[in-house]
Symmetry: C2
Subunit: 335 residues, 2 copies
């Protein structure tokens, strides 16, 4: 049922290598030979055994994308862009879901089908630069901010600047009691720290005192956490007139909690998020957010990986910053 080069060769009456040459588009094959071989290939419905080809070539044509969770919209959207960008380089993408735990991430970084993939695009939550330094040379591009100045190529968004801009926008709407949702003290919370820094910087710019009671932690960044954090803020009586949520799913949860509390958005409380996921364009109200250029992030990551695969392994790691913009919608409208 499943045929090999040898079968095709016998049928076409040529050597195995000639068939291989036809399959790989080698130039110097006479037209009639090529035709005979192609006919044989078609008749037998031959397709090459990639394991064998990989073994021989040392390349697989597969790269892996490792993300914490697939059903977080940000990662799903990112995955789509990575798949598209990788296809342009002739790569298939194997998507790995790490769950975000340190052990699984370590395994993903070092292990995913070793020798089955040419390289890895990795969005770590738990791993540190030290963890990664211990890994031997799997070509790797990191996404996100967890590992600063680590041993690998890196694509980031300027989290501090972006958070500062969106917070400044809330200030510009005349809000003064601006809450933040999503702070984290764990080592996994690198994004949280940077976004919090942007938030405090914007408050300082505006001469607004930092009020610890307005900063709500969120263990994860799911909708349920955002709703819980918002409820908590409301219950403590601090009465914010705006909230900056560290990502969009938190913000969607916050919108829900505000709705349940009978508060109007943006009239009573303005809400802003981060990520610009599709949901936020249709939520009620639509969501103002920081829009990182996800397509660019994916494209840069794939290109860094492509370079890394051909470059001298001693080439120092590069860090590229992807652009972002503010997407201002109903929940914190433009002035």
């Amino acid at each position: 049922m499943r045929h090999r080069l040898k079968d095709v060769a016998e049928r076409a009456g040529v050597s195995v290598k000639t068939v291989s040459n036809v399959v790989n588009g080698y130039q110097h094959v006479r037209a009639d030979t090529r035709a005979r071989v192609e006919a044989a290939i078609a008749e037998l419905n031959y397709r090459p055994n990639l394991s064998a080809r990989n073994l021989r070539k040392g390349r697989t044509g597969v790269i892996a994308l490792a993300v914490p969770e697939l059903d977080i919209p940000y990662f799903a959207e990112l995955a789509r862009h990575v798949v598209t960008a990788a296809a342009e380089h002739g790569w298939t993408v194997l998507i790995d879901q790490t769950g975000g735990g340190p052990e699984q991430e370590r395994k993903a970084a070092s292990g995913i089908g070793d020798h089955m993939i040419d390289g890895l695009i990795f969005s770590p939550l738990a791993l540190t630069a030290d963890d990664l330094a211990g890994l031997d040379g799997m070509p790797m591009v990191l996404l996100g901010e967890r590992v600063d100045h680590g041993p690998a190529d890196h694509v980031v968004v300027d989290n501090v600047a972006a958070a500062r801009e969106i917070t400044a926008h809330l200030v510009g709407l005349g809000r003064r009691r601006i809450a933040a949702i999503g702070s984290q003290r764990t080592p996994e919370g690198a994004s949280a720290r940077l976004r919090l820094a942007g938030y405090t910087a914007a408050l300082a710019d505006a001469g607004i005192a930092y009020d610890e009671r307005l900063v709500a932690p969120a263990p994860a960044w799911h909708r349920a956490d955002g709703a819980a954090a918002m409820r908590h803020l409301l219950s403590t009586g601090v009465r914010p007139d705006a909230v900056f949520c560290f990502n969009d799913t938190l913000a969607l949860g916050a919108l829900r909690a505000l709705h349940e509390a009978g508060l109007r958005v943006p009239d009573d409380v303005a809400v802003a998020g981060f990520d610009d996921i599709e949901d936020g364009r249709f939520s009620i109200p639509t969501l103002s957010t920081v829009a990182p250029d996800k397509e660019r992030i994916a494209r840069l990551a794939v290109e860094l990986l492509a370079n890394r695969l051909t470059a001298d392994p001693e080439t120092p790691p590069r860090e590229l910053v992807a652009p972002h913009r503010l997407a201002l919608r109903e929940s914190a409208p433009p002035r």
Copy 2:
């Protein structure tokens, strides 16, 4: 940098095969030999070359999941469950995004890294039973309703019954002018046809006349399509008092359009969806929907594939029906 069995063997002073035996947990290796080999493996940080192993064994330990689009929440959630279920069988999942076009789907079905995967879980939009019949024996499990009684194992939800139940629920709320959003006349619209059949059956059960003007087509099933279809329904003056959307993203779009039109949900118009995606639990209002058991779907698919891989290839294809239930929330609350 990257070591082979041979390197480990030399270092441990044994033959290549003995190392292989240790790696594969073969029983009859003396304890001290095993220890020496394991030490050598650790020192060299050896890891097997899977391409070579696959070539030798004819199995890769990788299965593929092919879905139309990754950033459709339903597929993202499904993907997560498939990855989890596959992990329990020791499989890695390669996720392929087909885009839903017939050509790409054919390629996915026949081609994805041929010999790189042991089997395929496939959620086709465009392919027909005939298309699939032409493919030689890639072990395959189909998801969804596109290919009835096709040549492959199949996991489905009872779309007609589910659509009938949720429509009946709208009837039970006293609604009489119940619209449907998401109909499709293309061959890709198999789900649409089944859900429409359930809708009309429920209307008939209740003695409500079918009104063609209440049925709005949607070219794709994204939020934007749902919003556009809802706007269209409102603009024609047919004034529905309920809408059954053929999936949740359509419903979220419809909620948005109703909000923009100043109509209250569920007071003026009740809304129901299909899929039970995470978004619908936090939307404003929260969404009543059909909840297919996605975890079960994933688990059944993986098990069917596992059986298919060990079974006699002549075993007739099986079709399993995954359960569903109604998740009734604010947009069309329980009575």
